[in-house]
């Protein structure tokens, strides 16, 4: 199957788009790099070039050298920008404090997000990072790229920015780190007109949605995570670019309960793939695992001798609901009791698979600790079929947003609002009934907020009537 973009997209060809020649991109030798000293003294950062793990300092230095050797008019931001960033980083180590100023409201016309203003508080010492604004570039779903795209992005950012990036930011965007205010609009125009590429979210709006690798290279994904991520991102472009929410809002799409994009911990609305029929079993492969012909867990434990695979100990006894057993050499699963934790499937990927009748569970309200403590998303809609264009999901999204925008306080995440009003109110908003699956256990206090309409005769009573039966 193939998926089509919502709008026609031209294939990007680096050879047609490029800014820099091959000579310019090979403008230093390894010997020059070895002897290259940046303009600031950075002993602590030099130390971070040692050790086996890739050194971001070593990487930064080669970009510093590239820029140092490019003619100055081949970059719109000063060549020393990398050197100044490293210099300020060293100074931050010395002082034990950051040297970035608080805030700075910059952006591109018509958008309230996608650009984070940043200024150095050491502008005289580090003039090329006086402005060091970030731009968030909305990554393609699950972060596959071709080199035409990546090289074009690199040339654009070498020319109009610092050449420093994050691949990727925590939410998922490609992060352009450091440019001056003057270049924000030109970069936005290049992204839009030349690369057909938009910015991501920041501030009190829909943040750039993200998804796991899904069916592109995983046998467990229960829905088309990329397609759903792409569709909802495009459908809600207005919410993504123009802050109208109380605070940030995140969608994340996990294809199965393993949760590779951590939606249950990070997303206000967590989509987690699941199924409602039986786990598929290949009994001959089960036997092969038991006979030691196939390494358990795809070979994940190969670095240590854990002994012979024992299906009883490693699968059946670890099943959280004890819903598996052996009948002779046949593996049995009581699927009605299964909570789809994925353990048995993870251990025996050649023998077990999620069922065929698949959809998503919807959970709401995860967030990091600021302010009232961290929250994970609460299971709210147990199962939903999801097919392009996901109209049933969009209906839910809009009910949630209407309520949150009406009732949410400034900087109140959805999870906090749910806690403030209680899940019963949230269920009213979603127009769904309660189910025991929404809680770990029923409440242990009896402080039920009865509604007047639920109590016979209502709350309007006469004290005179009461006193007619009871002396004061």
């Amino acid at each position: 199957m193939a998926f089509e973009p919502r709008e026609e997209q031209t294939k990007l060809k680096y050879q047609e788009l490029r800014i820099y020649s091959d000579d310019e991109l090979n403008n230093y030798t390894e010997d020059e790099l070895k002897s290259f000293k940046i303009k600031h003294n950075i002993p602590d950062l030099d130390e971070l070039e040692k050790g086996p793990w890739p050194s971001f300092v070593a990487d930064a230095k080669r970009e510093a050298l590239r820029r140092h050797k490019l003619p100055e008019d081949r970059m719109m931001i000063k060549p020393e920008v990398v050197e100044d960033m490293l210099g300020q980083l060293q100074l931050s180590f010395d002082h034990g404090e950051t040297h970035w100023k608080h805030g700075g409201i910059v952006g591109v016309f018509g958008y309230g997000g996608g650009v984070i203003g940043r200024y150095s508080d050491m502008q005289e010492t580090f003039p090329s990072i006086a402005h060091f604004h970030t731009m968030r570039v909305n990554q393609p779903a699950s972060k596959f790229y071709d080199t035409d795209y990546l090289r074009s992005i690199c040339d654009l950012w070498e020319y109009r920015g610092s050449g420093m990036m994050n691949f990727h930011g925590s939410t998922g965007d490609i992060i352009f780190l450091g440019t001056f205010t003057e270049q924000l609009e030109p970069i936005f125009f290049e992204l839009g007109h030349v690369l057909q590429q938009d910015l991501g979210g920041s501030g009190s709006n829909l943040r750039t949605p993200a998804c796991c690798i899904g069916k592109a290279r995983c046998e467990w994904s229960c829905y088309d995570t990329q397609d759903m991520c792409y569709e909802l991102t495009h459908f809600y472009q207005d919410e993504l670019h123009r802050p109208a929410f109380p605070y940030k809002f995140k969608f994340k799409f996990d294809g199965c309960p393993n949760g590779c994009v951590a939606s249950i911990a990070r997303a206000d609305m967590s989509f987690i793939g699941t199924w409602r029929d039986e786990i598929r079993i290949d009994q001959s492969a089960v036997k092969a695992y038991m006979g030691g012909e196939i390494a358990p867990n795809g070979g994940a434990h190969a670095g240590k001798d854990w002994g012979k695979f024992d299906i009883q100990k490693e699968v059946i006894d670890l099943c959280p609901t004890n819903c598996m057993w052996m009948e002779g050499d046949t593996l049995k699963i009581d699927d009605k009791e299964c909570t789809r934790c994925m353990h048995c499937i993870n251990v025996m990927p050649q023998a077990l698979w999620p069922g065929k009748d698949k959809g998503v569970s919807l959970l709401f309200g995860a967030k990091a600790p600021i302010l009232e403590g961290a929250q994970m998303s609460v299971l709210t809609i147990p199962f939903m079929k999801v097919e392009h264009p996901y109209d049933n999901v969009k209906e839910v999204v809009e009910k949630v947003w209407d309520w949150w925008m009406e009732e949410g306080k400034n900087r109140e995440r959805l999870g906090e609002l749910i806690q403030r009003y209680g899940i019963p109110k949230f269920l009213d908003v979603l127009e769904i009934p309660p189910m025991p699956q929404m809680v770990k256990e029923p409440r242990s206090n009896p402080y039920i907020f009865w509604k007047e309409e639920d109590v016979e005769g209502g709350w309007d009573r006469s004290i005179d009537d009461y006193r007619s039966r009871h002396a004061r």
Partner: protein, 395 residues
């Protein structure tokens, strides 16, 4: 159309709205799937980890895709990305992908190509010696550490991110390239409580942390901040309105109520918290995201404070190592750090890891009761005997 090479490119500041394209969204994902991925979309049957960092996925069509996973830095220059492109062009028909945890994945469709790719990746080193593309991060091993901006770009950090991550990963490098743990270990790092890295459900979370209440910049506070918003921003109600001696409107802070969350500074630049001695690192452990066997869990604070010892954070590296080594030695197969700690009891976790249990680790915030042990089930450790002795219960 080529990328522009004039100062302002396609943008005309005199007519800023002219030809403005908005709401284009991200580019479509399908065009970036290599052919083997397009052809086998939704048809994968299973996978194997051939060795640390090398996966093979099998399709019902008979196709295979080999993935070589490399650790990457989140901070990356265009130089680095161009080198990734060179590798992708040479071995992978010009395709590459990145994972949620800042790893780089190169995909090829035959074993021979995979071997050549691996050899190439292993040979690439920075001139100062570190690997550019270390292979690993799969299975029951340590994967890449996700992190935040730190001093490289952020205005609220209590520590630096890239440096600490580099130091810890240098220290645990063999675990990244091995699969010797009982289960996967996910370490995450955030440089302040805002946790833009959302580290709160990680096996081990490294968290930058302030310990001094804000300094009040009385000179400018009323000019640059909305005082009612600042007051409302404090979760413990420690901030109240005040006036300076010369009658300027400002705020005052009850220091003993401050929990150093920094939310007031987020709202108001006139209340900075950062401080060389005050700032440092806390370590949390035992969280997870996956629903496998046990439900997802929050990480718990197990080390209240370690100093910001730039650039290599030896105290942080030491304590992280204590945790992973005790875990590797003691946990059952498939147990995550949190599962292990719950099975043996948190009292044993501290004993086995050799970490001190201090009063800071006992919750005294709003939902503290949830963490009280209201049971007589406990295990004896040195910490328990110390209490009994102090209370006169034993000699």
């Amino acid at each position: 159309m080529a990328l522009s090479q004039e100062r302002l490119g396609l943008y005309n500041p005199d007519k800023p709205m002219e030809n403005r394209l908005t709401d284009l969204g991200p580019r479509h994902f399908w065009q970036y799937f290599p052919p083997v991925i397009q052809n086998n979309y939704g048809k994968w049957t299973h996978h194997e980890i051939l060795e640390p960092g090398v996966l093979v996925h099998f399709s019902e069509t008979g196709d295979k895709v080999f993935t070589v996973r490399c650790g990457g830095c989140r901070f990356m220059t265009v130089e680095n990305v161009r080198e990734i492109c060179d590798i992708a062009d040479k071995h992978c028909d010009g395709f590459v992908r990145f994972t949620t945890r800042n790893n780089i994945e190169f995909l090829v469709d035959t074993q021979d190509k995979m071997e050549a790719l691996k050899k190439d990746l292993e040979s690439r080193k920075h001139v100062s010696g570190s690997y550019k593309f270390p292979i690993g991060g799969t299975g029951a091993g340590l994967t890449n550490i996700v992190h935040t901006q730190g001093y490289i770009h952020c205005h609220t950090p209590a520590t630096d991110a890239s440096a600490m991550v580099k130091a810890v990963l240098d220290d645990l490098f063999d675990y990244f390239q091995g699969m010797t743990f009982p289960a996967q270990v996910r370490i995450s790092m955030a440089c302040c409580l805002n946790m833009c890295g959302a580290v709160h459900c990680s096996d081990i979370a490294l968290l930058g942390y302030h310990r001094k209440p804000p300094i009040i910049d009385n000179e400018v506070l009323d000019n640059v901040c909305e005082i009612p918003l600042v007051i409302a921003s404090c979760p413990t109600g420690a901030i109240s309105p005040s006036k300076t001696e010369d009658g300027k409107k400002t705020v005052k802070i009850k220091n003993e109520r401050c929990m150093f969350c920094g939310n007031c500074y987020t709202m108001c630049m006139a209340l900075p918290l950062s401080d060389k001695e005050g700032d440092g690192v806390t370590i949390l452990a035992g969280g997870k995201i996956s629903n496998r066997i046990s439900p997802p869990k929050f990480s718990k604070v197990v080390v209240p404070f370690l100093p910001n010892s730039f650039p290599r954070f030896p105290e942080v590296c030491r304590d992280v190592k204590k945790i992973v080594e005790a875990y590797a030695a003691g946990a059952n197969k498939y147990e995550r750090i949190g599962d292990w700690a719950e099975r043996i009891g948190w009292e044993k976790f501290f004993e086995k890891c050799g970490l001190d249990f201090t009063e800071h680790l006992i919750d005294d915030y709003r939902l503290q009761y949830d963490t009280y042990r209201t049971s007589t089930q406990f295990k004896y450790t040195e910490a328990a005997w110390a209490v009994s002795k102090a209370a006169g219960g034993v000699e």
